[in-house]
Structures are given as structure tokens and as C-alpha cells.
Symmetry: C3
Subunit: 208 residues, 3 copies
Amino acid sequence: MIHKFIPKELNFFDLFERQVGFAVDASSFFKQVVSSGKIDQSVLQKIRDIEHQGDEIAHTIIGQLNKTFITPFDREDIYALAKELDDVVDMINTILGRMVIYKLSGENDHLIKFAVMIDDSVNALALAVKGLRNTKNSKSVIDACVEINRLENEGDSMRDMVLAELFEKEKNPIMVIKLKEIYQDAETLLDICEDIANVVESILVKQA
Amino acid sequence: MIHKFIPKELNFFDLFERQVGFAVDASSFFKQVVSSGKIDQSVLQKIRDIEHQGDEIAHTIIGQLNKTFITPFDREDIYALAKELDDVVDMINTILGRMVIYKLSGENDHLIKFAVMIDDSVNALALAVKGLRNTKNSKSVIDACVEINRLENEGDSMRDMVLAELFEKEKNPIMVIKLKEIYQDAETLLDICEDIANVVESILVKQA
Amino acid sequence: MIHKFIPKELNFFDLFERQVGFAVDASSFFKQVVSSGKIDQSVLQKIRDIEHQGDEIAHTIIGQLNKTFITPFDREDIYALAKELDDVVDMINTILGRMVIYKLSGENDHLIKFAVMIDDSVNALALAVKGLRNTKNSKSVIDACVEINRLENEGDSMRDMVLAELFEKEKNPIMVIKLKEIYQDAETLLDICEDIANVVESILVKQA
């Protein structure tokens, strides 16, 4: 019965570690699919599985939050973290869903580059979230957050560049509609990662 | 002067019951308008009336919240409920406004189906919100929330299906722009209902 | 060492006064650029400078909030104010960025009118935010908030009117895509100002 004595607060770290794991699964799968250029219905089952598991863990965290009086960090930060980590997986699911609907198969170099940046950002996020367990990690957590911010800035420039090219070269308005949305979604994903990094940094500041 | 002794907290339930009533008015009107296919300027006066009344009650709730020390459930849940019930009416107003601007009159079977789903979801929402008065209702409140979640999932598939068809068949890019936005808005409305159901469920959990 | 005795809370008013100053800089620059019709790469350096400074002050406010126990008004209102004032500058930066990417140079009367309304709204916002220092100002703060609400309503009608005209007259779908987004962004900017005015009003109510 020793587990009775393990402080409840540890659970949140375990839960977040599992939740960010689903974000890593999703971004890794996204990179793989986009690189292969094979975007078809079969892709959706896999990403929806990940999304479903991510949903469940997010619900578990919010449920745990509602039942727990003393939490390892501010309640609103726990809520924001759970909500926005869920948004990462949701957004990847949304993008892949749109690519299937738009029949955007075939390799797209811009999108491959975005997928690599997204995967890098989500992996830095995993480092940052896992590092929250122990204040000794604060240096590496901050480094990860800086990297996420850098990738978001790079993503901004990337999106501006690819949209300018799209409006310059693509003469088919329907294709403009499709790709514009996908590129903007990809950049939004990097924004969400940055928002999460901001939550992580604010948790660090309050612990200091 | 007996009303002096009625606990202030009751007011919130009365106010939310009135607020969700405006959401029901709006979704019922939306279904009626879309089914008739007569989308013209005259429609806007009616939906703006409802939206205006909904706005007022939302302001009353927030004002009451700022003046009340003890509330029947968590302050942030009251705030979220008032804000998001307002979003339901706003979104219906936005969609009808866009349909008028885009001159999208005539019957659209996909949109009629969306309007029915939206009306079903908002009616389930009314049940859930009214049920919050008494913990004895928790079974029917949860059932209503489950139904709202089901409708949101169905709405997701519906949107994917109609967008795929739109991009497949519609050759006029301007019409693609218009209908894509309206279909996505319709699905967003079901998302908002689901967000509210989540708030309601979190209120139940905390009461348990 | 007299500064030691100056209450810490004053800092928030100073910080918000500086932050809203960057919003005024941005909206004034936006009006100037749009009126000139010269939308090119050179415009971006200037707006990004303002955005960068605005970002820094927003971070300072959030950092200060995390370190301060007693605040001059509710923590969530301080957070919302800092976040949404930042959104004003971000949105102006976003719009100008899009106009450059879309090569939308040349005078556009609708956009000039929007830019004037946005600048009026942001100036009223500056009045409202600066007025928070002293409850004696509450009449002028409320007047400013009423004006911001009026401009948001006017912006709604304006957007509906210009979109209706755009879909009626513009035959190039790519141009429809571009201008639709810019007009909607302009109206969103007025929405953000209204959201901030709501936060300001709720601060006043709680102080009363």
C-alpha cells in the first residue's frame, strides 16, 4: 500500500509527460506523412487514434485538477497546459484532415520544411514539459523555450515567403484557397507551441 | 419584503435560463430561415433583435458576477458560461449576416441538415443549463452533454463530407470561398456548444 | 532612496500607459501608410520595431504580475489588459504584413476609412487606459469605452458593406481572397479594442 504515500501532485507531472508524448507522436507522424507525399484516407485513422488518446489524457488532467486541492503549480497554468497541448494534436489532426479533403497528395517542399520545424518545436516542448518536474532542470527548460520561440519566428518568415510565392505563381484560385489555409495552419501550430512555451516560462518564474 | 430573504445566488440560474433561451430562439430561427431558403435583408432585423437581447443578459450576468461575493458555482465557470452562450447567438448572427452578404438564398440541403443539428445541440444545451439548478438533475444534464458531444462529432464528419464535395464539384472559385466559410462556421457553432457542455460537466464534477 | 517608498502598484499604471502608447504608435502609422497607398517592404521594419517594443513591455507586465502579491486591480484583468493591448499591435503588424505579401499597394478608400476608425478607437483606448489611474476619471473613461463600442458597431456595418460590394463587383477570385481577409482583419482589430474596453469597464465596476 506504499503508493498511498506518494504525494498526489506527482500525478500531474506523469500525466503531462504522457500528454506531451502524444504531441510528439502526432508531429512525428505528420513529418513522416508529409515527407512521403502519400496523403490519403488511411492516414486519418492513425492520427485520429493519437488524437483520441490525447483527448482522454487531457480530460483526465482537467478531472484531476477539479478534484485536487493542492497542485504542483498554479491551477490556471495546469489548465492552460492541458488545453494547449491538446490543441497541438488537434491542429495536426485538422491539417491532415484538410489535406485529405483537398486531395493534396504529392511532395510539397514547403510543407516538408514546415513539418520538420513543427516536429523540432514539439520535441523541444517535450523537453520543456518534462523538465518541469525538477527546478534543477530550469536551464534546459529555458533553452528549449528559446528554441521554440526561434522556430516560431522562423515559421513566420517561412509562411510569408511561401504565401508570397503562392500568390505570385499559382494561377488556380482553388489551389490558392487550399494551400493558403494549409500554410497558415502550419504556422498556427508553431504559434501554439510558442504559447505553451510561454506558459512553461511563467511556471518557472513563479517557482523561482 | 420577503424577496430580501431569497438567496442572491438563485439569480444566476434565472439569468442563465433566460440567456440559453435566446440561444434557443436564435437556433430555431436559423433552422426556419435556412429551411425556407429565403435569405434576405429582412432576416437580419430579427436575428439582431435576439442578439441584442442576448448581449444585454450576458452583460447583466457579468455585472452581477462582479458584484457578488458568493456564487453558486466557480466564478470562472459563470464567466465562461455567460461568454460562450453569448458566442452561440453571435455566431448564428454572423452566419446569417454572411449569407445575406453572399446572396446565398435558395435551399441548400447540406445547410438545412447543419441547421437541424445545431438546433438539436442548442436544445440539449438548454436542458443541460437549466438542469444545473438541482444536483438531482445530474443524470439528465450528463445525457444532454453526451448528445452535444455526439452532434459535434457528427458535425465534423458532415463538414468534411460537404467540403470534399464542394472542392470536387464546384468550379466557381467565388462560390467555393462563400460556401467553405459558411460550412466551417456551421461546424464551429457545434464546437461552441461542445465547449459549453464541457463547462457544464466541469461544474457538475466540482459539485459532486 | 525615496523611491523605495513609492508603492509598487504605481508601476502597473506606468507600464500600461507605455504599452497603450505603442498601440497608438502602431495605429497612427497604419493610418499614415494606408492613406499614402505605399505598401512595400520598407513599411515592415517600422511596424516590427513597434511590435517588438510592445512585446517587451507586455512581457515586463506579465513578469511583474507574477512577482507582485498586491495589485491595483484584479490579476486576471491585468493579464487580459496586457495580452489584448499586445494583440492590437500584433494585428496591425499582421495586416501590414499581409498587404505587402499580397502586393496591395495603391489607395483603397474603404481601407483608409477603416484605418481612420481604428486609429480613433485606439486613441479612445489610450484615454480609457490612462484614466484608470484615478477613479475621478471614471466619467471620461466610460465615455471613451462608449466611443470604442460605437466604432466597433460602425466597423461591423462597414465590413458588411465593403464585402457585399467586393463579392458583387470583383471578378478576380484571387483579389477577392486577398481583400476579404484584409477587411475582416480590419474589423477584427475594432473587435479587439472593444474587448479591451470591456475589461476596462469591468475594472471600473469592481472599483466602484
